[in-house]
Amino acid sequence: MFRPQAMSKVELAVPERDVVPVTEALAASGAFHPTLTGHLGGERVPRYAEDWHERAATFAALERRIVIVMEALGVDEGPPPAETPHLIELEMAQSDIERLEREAQAPVQELEEGQRKLAQLQRYLGQLELIADLEVDLGTLRSLRYTFVLPGTMPISNLERFQTSLELIPSALVTLRREDHLATVVLFGTQRDADVLNRAARSAYLNPLELPETYRGTPAEAIAALKSNIERTRQYIAECQTTIDYLHEAHVQRLRHLLWQVCASRTLAETIARYGRLRYTYLLAGWVPASQVPTLQQEIKQVSDKVLIEVNTPRRQEDGHIPVALENPPLLRAFQALVTNYAYPCYSEIEPTLMIALTFPLIFGIMFGDVGHGLVLALLGLLLVSRKVRALRGLSGPGTLVIACGITAMVFGSLYGSVFGFEEILKPLWIRPLEDIMDILMVTIAIGVGLLSLGMVCNVVNAALTRRWGRMLFDHNGLAGLAFYWSLIGLAAGAFVGGLPVSPILLAALAAVSGLVMTFSEVLEHLVEGHRPLVEGGLSTYLIQTPIELFETVIGFLSNTLSYVRMGAFAVAHGALSMVVFIVAEIISPAHGVGYWVVVVLGNLFVIGFEGLIVGIQTLRLEYYEFFSKFFSGGGLRYCPLTLISRREE
């Protein structure tokens, strides 16, 4: 639980004729994380050999064609099939797609044509409606020999300037209507001045109305004719749509099946194209969880007995390339998401999900201690987990985290004696944060010291796991750092509290020695781990840097520790905020009438929502910046087993 799943490196040599069934078996197993082997082999590959790159490209083109047909017929991809489809015969897929394309082509084209025509007619209608009041025959307007007529729309802000520009030309500008910032106008003049008038109109941003050539009569009559034409076009579109709906029903299953088959075949071809290759053999390699290796071997042997399989345990040098498979029970998935949101753990380091599952609710509970508020959160978490509300289904993942936080808030609520802000109902099992401020602050600092020490211990373990002995012994967060931190804690505790079982001189000596070791940690680490040169970047720079770094470390320890004070501060703030709610409620209704209870309910909801959010953020901050930074480097490679039927958009 503290480590990712143990992985084994599996290398296979597969005869050419078995490469497809073996790859299908690897994909079906859901356990094989392939690595690149394309650089292996490559010599003397026969020219007649299968070109998987080319096949992958052909399948990809086919996939695009299927998608186009599906979009035209309104077919979605549907759920992925239960069983992985096998490699499809290319010719068969091609002929299938061609047939479907032929069937869909005519009705789809007719539909598009109808929609284009409808859009055009509606544009005409929109323009004619602007001049609907004109009692002029459109045909006459178009055939005037001596008079220039230009109906159009233009920005109202340009009207005055346009009129000014026309002062010296015999013309008349009639404004028919003004709507928003646009005016509908008709410009009259003589045909002799048509060129000048056109240029002037253009420069005033007068957009001429596009009047349909085929319509005669007044604009009102043309509008009536257009409307009936629009109606006919709509009917035509509906008929086309019926045909398309019929095709949809007839081919929906076939299209989906074909799409998944081609999609799987494309992925298969792309996967094989990345394999290494000898003359008649493909070379594959990948990572498999050690526990699943025997099953995988059996599955491969079932499809081919000619495959050579070699299983190796990973070498230390391969750490960065080993995929990390986290195996946490479903209850911890929400906490695992918090970890992976920060970074994916490396294969060789501690997997901190369990630690965060314990510390996150603890920190949250300390800051948000209230039985009532915790209960509301726990119920909310249950609602999220139950997935009963459709709108909240997407949030079902963090449900367990909310439940855990709710429960710890209830526990600390009992310790603080607080129920929905009421301090009189429950007797506190421990302290009231508002009354014992120093106590709660000291306890939270102590918890902080514990968590930081845990972080440093994890760093020591991580260093030991990777055999970085220098880092383990001398690092600021290693054993030297831990000794330095605890000796400082001891000295501080001795100064403020007294009565320590260890002599202060011994603690001071330990602090001095460990401080000295930390000061020269770089040199010591290099010495132990065999890195040369011992000092990088020159001795003088190093000597200037080291005391500053030590000072920075001391300040870091101090600020990291004090950072946990916020737990106590928020516990106090939580109580104070609840108190404010009651003060406001008293002001609104001193007799504890309806107003009082309305304020109490709304105030509590506000505290749960507003403070809950802030406390959640602060908890995350303490985990990520104070705790994780001590040991968690991240940067691991996510375990992605080979699959042939992943959703296309993934």
């Binding site: 729309t153 802000s157 340009n158 000014t164 520009s165 000048v196 002037a200 253009r202 941003y205 957009n207």
Partner: protein, 364 residues
Amino acid sequence: MSMQEVSAYSLVHATVRALYSTMLTPETWEALVEAQDFDALLSALSKTVYSPYLQIERQELTPRRAVYQIRWHLADIYEKLIRLTPEPGQQLLLQLWHLYEVDNLKATLRGVEAGASWDQVRHLLHPMTRYITLTAADMEKMVRSDDVARAIELIRHTPYYETLIHALERYRAEKNLFPLEVALDLDYCRGLWQSINQLAGIDHEQALRIVGTMLDVDNLLWAIRYRVYHHLSEQEIINYTLPFGYQVRDKDIRAIAAGADIAQVVRPIYPAVEVPPLISGGGGGGAGLAAIELSLQRHIVKTCRGAFIGYPFHVGIPAAYLLLNEHEIRDLTVLIEAKASRLPTEMFASMLETQTPAYQTDQR
């Protein structure tokens, strides 16, 4: 003198005075002009107020990038003075600031039309982070859209959309950005004029004097360019220019549009401005037009400097300072390009708008 004006503008005035002292002195200009090459110019600039903006990797500091970096200074002082200036003067500064947004929009549309990448466009834009309606992300999306119509659809949420969408018909017909750009300019100037007219008392008077002069010069130069360069008809020139102004009247613009002698129109408005003979006859001539443009820009600079003499508690002070800074940066742009191209001093020194230094006269 109203106590309200003094209390409202005292902080702005003090700030502008402090900032004014950081503008480049004639001695610094002399050093910049005399710099051997682009590197020497950058070295000289590193001793000025622009130094922090030029602290990037030297290989990245191309002439274009240097201009972009320098413009950050203008962005910083605009943002600072907008924040400090009280209403309604703040609206005027905001409107002035939005001129750069309009310029950015035009540059973005040019980028879209030219099929440029976002990396090619981004450093041509004015850096703007606050008090904006058009973000860098919007412009990046526009550039990536690869189509002018689609790009305009992406800025539906901005005040520029209505203007552009109507002018788009003409872009579609003519496949030229000119109508879109003119529509944006006219719309912007109408907004600026409205901001001036919303002010009262000394604020209105000073805004009219400073910003109105800038509008006048732009309007006049548009009319001249449309006639001399674009050969537009009288009606087109009228439609593409503004009917209002501070000293330039509509009759002046209409006279230029109708083909009157440009010098005869300009001289009565600006008796002190030198109108070169090339343009006097109303004919073409790039050099003549450039000379009159330079004279008019220097007139703006002079007007802005004049704002600092006399009663100081008004919006004219921050507005004038900001315009002066714009001109300083324009001059620096000329200098950077000249030094990067290794032009001899006499080819560019006379083109500086903020400087008429002694060395120019000496060289003559």
